[in-house]
């Protein structure tokens, strides 16, 4: 059964002619069809995928060595894809066909990947449970009554259920890592600027980063290599050459210093999650790594800081959705103001409206200094905390989320409880650092537990290497939920 193989294994099988891209593509399309109850996809492009697979097979026959040639993948519906729907999980873009490809989409297409479709997500990536999507919630394959996490919940559920071998996500405050933790995947949020944001619909421009959701660190390395790289169309993208992540996977853990922030191991974290994380860290110790205590004294300020900056930027980024040029436009508007008001009232969901209001308020005359400016100062202090910690250690380790996957509807009515789910992840975005979540066992309900690694700026290679070494001696990442 091809869906039991990792992306890296499938790549080798394709190259050795053991399977064709068309066969693989058919297989995964059938699985998508079979498990539509997960609601992981917003758009499935069977026709386009089969045509791309056919092209890939011809290229393979001619000896193509393109890194992702013939491999089926899926993109989060936040990436613009030419010719097919790009909805961003919102009604306001529920009819938007992009005339251009995002840089990430372009890169993976260039490297031969076969796009199966676009995955479900929280509306405009605002959410931690995938319940804010206009296209309905996504179900967690490990327990259909639970959320897959968010906002990249569709990608996470799809990979966890092996409806696709790997997928892309985006992470503004934890939107790759938390779903990876909830679904038992390896998910990486790269350093800010590592991957181009061009064509990725903006939520909070200074925090957004695209990254892979995969079955293993090895697969994540393969995807990141394709996604990353300087893009002259994104002024915030870094000019550094992308390292060969596959080559550095086999790293030596001897002497690697893992810093455990006191603040990430407190009573706010679920006991079983904490135990899972501690057990995983013990294995690292056995492999030669050193565990040391570090401090991130200002991490508690992360949530309030994040929930000023992210909505402030979002309130401005989402102003372009006005019904004038594309997307949903309200009918029967008597004047311009009505056009704006009705279009946006109908087009945006509750959570998006809430954040636009918070952000507009934070930027308003008379409040700007107290909120936005203050938040920027805190942001610098948080970044300095990380700088200090990284003088003592190479990687900061802790739980990705305070709990395992929670129930559908459990926090949907309580925004603050929902926001608190990002407590260990969003400081990383504020500091622009790379971080990865990897599976570290299961709790008593059989739900995956996520271990988070945070690295120095542009040090993704070390995170992937450390995770890979752990995955060579454990098999948590190879587990499939029952029935898939």
């Amino acid at each position: 059964m091809p869906h039991r193989y990792s992306l890296s294994t499938l790549r080798d099988m394709l190259r050795q002619g053991e399977i064709s891209s068309v066969e693989l593509t058919r297989h995964f399309l059938e699985r998508i069809e079979r498990f539509t109850d997960l609601n992981a996809f917003i758009t499935v492009d069977a026709e386009g995928a089969l045509a791309a697979a056919d092209t890939a097979d011809q290229a393979i026959a001619q000896g193509s060595q393109a890194p992702l040639i013939g491999l089926p993948i899926a993109h989060k519906d936040i990436f613009c894809t030419r010719g097919i729907l790009t909805s961003c999980g919102s009604k306001i873009l529920s009819n938007f066909i992009s005339p251009y490809d995002a840089t990430v989409v372009e890169h993976m297409h260039r490297d031969g990947a076969v796009l199966l479709g676009k995955t479900n997500m929280d509306e405009f990536a605002m959410g931690s449970s995938n319940e804010t999507s206009f296209f309905g919630p996504v179900r967690n394959p490990w327990d259909r009554a639970r959320v897959p996490g968010g906002s990249s919940g569709g990608s996470a559920a799809a990979v966890a259920a092996r409806l696709v071998p790997a997928a892309t996500g985006t992470d503004t405050g934890g939107s790759i890592r938390q779903p990876a933790a909830f679904c038992g995947l390896t998910g990486l949020k790269p350093s800010y600027g590592r991957v181009s944001r061009y064509g990725m619909i903006a939520f909070a421009s200074s925090l957004d980063q695209a990254g892979p959701l995969a079955q293993s660190a090895e697969d994540a390395a393969l995807l990141l290599a394709s996604m990353a790289g300087f893009d002259p169309r994104d002024s915030t993208s870094m000019t550094q050459v992308t390292p060969d992540y596959e080559a550095t996977l086999e790293m030596d853990l001897t002497g690697l210093k893992l810093g455990l922030p006191r603040e990430f191991f407190d009573e706010s974290v679920d006991g079983q999650v904490l135990q899972g994380v501690r057990d995983a860290l013990t294995i690292f110790e056995q492999m030669g790594a050193q565990l040391i205590d570090v401090e991130l004294p200002n991490s508690a300020a992360g949530i309030p800081c994040y929930y000023v900056i992210a909505p402030a930027e979002a309130s401005s980024n989402l102003a372009r959705f006005d019904g004038v040029r594309y997307g949903h436009r309200a009918a029967d508007c008597e004047d311009l103001l009505a056009l704006y008001e009705k279009t946006r009232a109908e087009g945006f969901g509750e959570e998006v409206k809430r954040r636009i209001l918070i952000g507009t308020y934070a930027l308003s005359a008379g409040y700007y200094d107290a909120y936005y400016l203050k938040a920027q100062k805190i942001r610098r202090i948080i970044a300095e905390d990380f700088d200090r910690a990284f003088k003592q250690c190479d990687i900061i380790a802790g739980p990705t989320a305070p709990t395992s996957a929670f129930g559908l509807g459990e926090k949907a009515e309580d925004p603050v409880a929902m926001y608190l789910n990002d407590i260990f992840t969003n400081t990383v975005n504020l500091a622009g650092l790379p971080a990865l979540s990897l599976p570290a066992g299961f709790d008593h309900s059989g739900l995956p537990i996520g271990l988070q690694f945070i690295g120095r700026f542009m040090d993704e290679g070390r995170l992937l290497g450390a995770a890979h070494r752990y995955q060579q001696v454990t098999n948590w990442h190879q587990q499939l939920p029952e029935g898939f």
């Binding site: 990436f79 613009c80 790009t86 961003c88 873009l93 938007f96 992009s98 005339p99 251009y100 995002a102 944001r197 061009y198 064509g199 990725m200 619909i201 903006a202 909070a204 421009s205 200074s206 002259p232 169309r233 994104d234 002024s235 915030t236 402030a312 930027e313 309130s315 401005s316 989402l318 102003a319 372009r320 959705f321 006005d322 004038v324 040029r325 594309y326 311009l336 704006y340 507009t360 930027l363 308003s364 005359a365 700007y368 936005y372």
Partner: protein, 477 residues
């Protein structure tokens, strides 16, 4: 009571770049609607701005030319408001840290030279255009202009009369054209002006409440709008009222200003630094490059014209007000080494009047600098008289050839041969005995009648000075 107006101007100068400030789309004017707007300009989901360095360098040139500080790191900010011709729902501008701060410009007033402070100049993008007339019951949006680079130049409230405001505006207009950073075309909107105006009792230091005037996009409108507004504000105050702080629109048809929107309903633009754009960094090398590309500036050139060409201040000012005029003058001199003042007279006199009458820019003059140079030489070496030269100029304007060709073809060469002139003088003396007697009796002014007769006899070609001298010789000896 006597009142003092206080005026400050905000000028939007469109920077002359090939592509837009944050995208690669062309900036050319006049294309079919929405054909020069790319994905970035129409603000498709996911697109990002990338700074056009050329626009920044043009702004730096301006900063150096007005002796301002060029900030090594300036910040782009988003100005948030909704309007259909503003595709992103925000305009990218500069707010707290502009690229240029604290400069100055000098104007000539009746009381002499006056310094006008320049508060700042910042980079921003233009919006598109809403077309309300072309579609029945609907509004069309043309985004060709969206993203065109602008330099907003804000003056200090240093002007005290409409005439000073116009002088400042003209000076600025001349400067941006000298610098070749803006084409200055006011009809196409490449150089637009808003004015802030208040009045206060003469002698009071505190500023009065100001209004902002929009739609004053010609030198004439600026002056008229300001005059109207000053009178209106004074009337309000003298009637015991207070001036409302508001934006007012000037209507050239009625020559009035009327309220557009009041400050109470003014937008809260929610400025914040644009997270998509890193700080705009201007290095020492950029400054050096801009400095090297600076042309000779109007004030310097004017001084040089006075010292190098021994022109009057007035002539020098007139010749250097526009770069094209100064260039014309110097090209004409270079082509034909001739008298500077005589050339100055011709450029500011006959040439200027023909350009004016036919509404022709000097760069498209029908008489080229070298053609005028040749003509002025002909006057200087007495080939033609000044009067005849005007006729030759007219013929050149109409395309009849060069000065030499026209003089030759029409036999206009001046008679300098005293024997020929003497003969004509003798004949005139013989023909007009009565007038000759009057001159001899001391009636000096009749002499000009006799000069006229000699000129007539020589078909106007005799050198008038020679005729005068010879006549005097004959009659007064």
């Amino acid at each position: 009571m006597s009142w003092e107006p206080v005026i400050g101007l905000e000028v939007h100068a469109q920077l002359q770049t090939y592509s837009k400030i944050f995208s690669g789309a062309p900036t050319a004017y006049g294309a079919a609607p929405n054909t020069q707007a790319c994905a970035v300009d129409i603000a498709l989901p996911g697109v990002l701005p990338v700074m056009n360095r050329q626009a920044a360098l043009l702004a730096v040139k301006f900063g150096l030319a007005v002796d301002a500080r060029v900030n090594p790191r300036s910040i782009f900010a988003r100005k948030n408001y909704f309007y259909p011709d503003l595709p992103k729902g925000y305009q990218i501008s500069q707010y707290e840290i502009p690229i240029v701060a604290g400069g100055e410009l000098f104007i000539d007033t009746a009381q002499g030279r006056k310094r006008i402070g320049i508060t700042r100049a910042h980079l921003e993008e233009d919006a598109g255009k809403s077309l309300h007339e072309d579609f029945h019951g609907m509004t069309g949006v043309d985004l060709n202009r969206a993203g065109t680079p602008l330099l907003e130049i804000v003056s200090e409230p240093d002007m005290r009369a409409p005439a000073e405001a116009v002088a400042y505006l003209r000076k600025l207009h001349s400067l941006v054209r000298y610098l070749e950073i803006c084409d200055g075309n006011m009809e196409e909107g490449s150089f637009r002006c808003d004015a802030n105006i208040s009045v206060r009792p003469m002698g009071q230091t505190q500023l009065g409440i100001r209004t902002e005037l929009k739609n004053i996009n010609s030198f004439r409108f600026v002056e008229r709008a300001l005059e109207f507004e000053i009178a209106r504000q004074i009337e309000v105050l003298e009637d015991g009222g207070t001036v409302a702080q508001e934006t007012r629109l000037y209507d050239p048809a009625t020559d009035e200003t009327r309220p557009m929107r009041s400050k109470e309903e003014a937008h809260d633009y929610r400025y914040f630094p644009d997270p998509d754009l890193p700080p705009l960094v201007i290095t020492a090398a950029d400054l050096e490059q801009a400095r090297e590309s600076l042309p000779e500036l109007p004030d310097t050139r004017r001084q040089r014209f006075v010292t190098e060409y021994e022109l009057s201040e007035t002539d020098a000012a007139q010749l250097t007000a526009e770069k094209d005029t100064a260039d014309y003058f110097e090209q004409a001199l270079a082509a034909n080494a001739c008298n500077h003042r005589l050339m100055a007279n011709w450029v500011t006199g006959e040439l200027a009047s023909w350009l004016n009458r036919t509404d022709t820019p000097i760069s498209e003059s029908k008489v080229s600098p070298s053609m005028l140079g040749e003509l002025v030489r002909c006057i200087q070496d007495q080939t033609v008289s000044g009067k005849t030269a005007k006729a030759v100029f007219e013929a050149m304007w109409h395309g009849d050839g060069t000065a030499g060709e026209i003089i030759e073809a029409r036999g206009l060469k001046q008679i300098l041969d005293t024997e020929i002139i003497e003969q004509a003088v003798v004949e005139v003396i013989a023909d007009f005995p009565a007038q000759v007697a009057q001159v001899r009796a001391g009636e000096e002014k009749v002499l000009s009648f006799l000069v006229g007769q000699v000129m007539k006899a020589t078909s106007g070609k005799a050198n008038p000075r020679a005729v005068n001298e010879i006549l005097r010789q004959k009659l007064c000896s």
